[in-house]
């Protein structure tokens, strides 16, 4: 793995303020997230709703400006045009993220025009055909509209559009969550294959732990706007150091009835609201290991074994 990361995020913060008339306080979506993405790798991000994973995704591609902190691509910040071109995004719901009044050809050639990547209509058309072929769609259907395709095919259109600018990084925000379970595997396999053949680096954001483990080399676990644990997938899943990671893994339903009797960690309550995150460690209100220290001292992300965890009582290998 090369030393220089392709994408680097340093201490990102993002707070959404309520409107003028809103009584609710500001939502602290992301509070101090740093990460690095290396060429050709997949970084998975898991977490429950409200943990800030989608906000993080939007900041990584420059759709959202961080309040503080910085995202750099090979050392250069947004919003330089070639940086934007190199970091693309695939959204969760392909039906709402594709303009229903544009044909597939228009949709996929739009980034080519914006970034002046193909000269003239025939060249663009040829390139759109190539891209559709790459994602497993029949180029003959490029004059159709998004609603004429199934959910899985629409997600392929979204991927073709992201690939149009030959990016080095694609950030996928819940790319398979809206798809039927029999179709999810098609899209997961397509992303894995594109990574192998094109060497593109992926950030794969999802709430499904099994899918994330399947696709990722490294995994970050987020809780209430912060990274609780991050490291190689085998380490994070195999020997989780943060109690939240253990609880999350333990709570995930497993499609094998023979494992029903296994010991499970049951967390009490719901994740607290990001409007008023608890002081100290944000997980201490639901944590069975919590001590007085946890409710006052915010733990820093520190190395444990081969990965990093933000916990005063991290599980360390014996």
């Amino acid at each position: 793995m090369s030393a220089e990361p392709v994408l680097r995020a340093v201490n990102l913060h993002k707070t959404y303020r309520g409107g003028l008339l809103s009584k609710a306080g500001a939502v602290r979506a992301v509070s101090g997230v740093s990460l690095e993405l290396h060429a050709g790798e997949t970084l998975g991000i898991v977490g429950e709703s409200g943990c800030g994973k989608s906000t993080l995704a939007r900041m990584l591609v420059g759709l959202e400006k961080p309040d503080s902190g910085e995202v750099t691509f090979r050392g250069r910040p947004f919003p330089a045009r070639d940086v934007r071109r190199s970091v693309q995004m695939v959204f969760q719901d392909p039906l709402t993220s594709l303009n229903p009044r544009m044909t597939v050809q228009d949709l996929v050639s739009e980034p080519l025009q914006v970034h002046r990547l193909a000269n003239g209509a025939p060249a663009r058309r040829a390139r759109v055909g190539e891209l559709l072929d790459l994602v497993g769609l029949d180029p003959d259907r490029m004059n159709r509209f998004p609603h004429e395709f199934s959910g899985g095919q629409r997600q392929r259109i979204g991927i073709a559009r992201a690939l149009a600018t030959e990016p080095d990084v694609i950030v996928c925000d819940e790319p398979v969550s809206a798809l039927d379970m029999s179709v999810q595997a098609q899209v997961v396999n397509l992303l894995a294959e594109l990574q192998r053949t094109l060497g593109v680096a992926l950030v794969f954001i999802a709430h499904d732990l099994a899918v994330v483990r399947h696709v990722s080399h490294r995994v970050g676990v987020m809780y209430l706007g912060r990274v609780a644990e991050i490291g190689p997938a085998t380490k994070v899943y195999g020997t989780p150091a943060h109690p939240y990671t253990s609880a999350l893994l333990s709570a995930a339903p497993v499609p094998r009835p023979s494992l029903r009797g296994r010991k499970r960690i049951m967390l009490g309550g719901d994740p607290p609201s990001p409007v008023a995150p608890p002081p100290g460690c944000r997980f201490h209100t639901r944590c069975w290991k919590a001590t007085a220290e946890c409710s006052t001292q915010e733990p820093a992300l520190e190395p444990v074994d081969d990965h990093f965890a933000a916990c005063h009582h991290a599980t360390r290998p014996a």
Binding site: D180, S182, Q186, A192, H207, H214, A251, P253, V254, P255
Partner: protein, 330 residues
Amino acid sequence: MSDTVLEVRDLQVTFTASGRLLPAVRGVDLVIERGQTLALLGESGSGKSVTAKAIMGLLDHPGVQVGSRVARLGEHDLLTMSAERRRALRGNDMTMVFQDALSALNPVLSIGDQLGELFRIHVGATRAEARARSIEMLELVGIPAPGKRIDDYPHQFSGGMRQRILIAMAVALEPDLIIADEPTTALDVTVQAQILELIERLRRELGTAVLLITHDLGVAAEVSDRVAVMYAGRIVETGDVYELFERPAHPYTRALLGAIPDLERPASELRAIPGQPPSPSSLPAGCAFAPRCDRVTALCTGTRPELTLLDGGSDRAVACHHTKELLDVG
């Protein structure tokens, strides 16, 4: 008294949309025993939610035809029952837990009013009695400080708490059958585990039968006794949860299990199923899964396989021409 809580035979539901007939459910049989959980597993459009609504009698409007040969809830024959009687049955004898608790609860009534209404209408309780019973119910489903929270409104509760309130409403009158339609799909995984445990505990304590509608193989594997797999409006395989997951006898069930990643056993490549589920407006003539099946033969595209009992299994039935080969291969 018989131990069969629900028996439905040959359930058919057809929608009429702009003059065209859309068969959503095409001959579904369901039997649930007392204290048993049956998971009805299927993808979107497979007809699982429509089945649930038809059983509840919630599809009673123009443009929908519902028919069946047998529909019994315990001693009651649902087919001959008047709409009035059926309404009384809902809430008393069978109840439903919906996916989205926020839209299933009335936003302008307090939780106490909504729960209390059940006791006042169905058992004629006074306001004070209804309030006391409601507090008990909230306690039963694990709402902290129920005496204080009873006057709160739905928006003041979290998603998991709202789902608990819906469950409290569903079990309040100790029904024989609870139909839970994707009860945990909108919830986070740590909260999902709590809710599934709650449903499981109540089933044990109250002996209620549960029909669990889900698209999640993991959820079905965790809590059900029996599983029925639906595809394109029909049950393609049904049986004991252990047997079905360990030795799937229908290519669709087998393909689904191969297509989802397993947390415990990460594989290098998922076995994707080609194509997508058929639309109810253009169903294939033979087996509905034939166009996506890796074992398809001429027989499959021409003749639809009937749901047939398997030898040796405990009430296992499969609708596939090639089950024998499938099971022999292992």
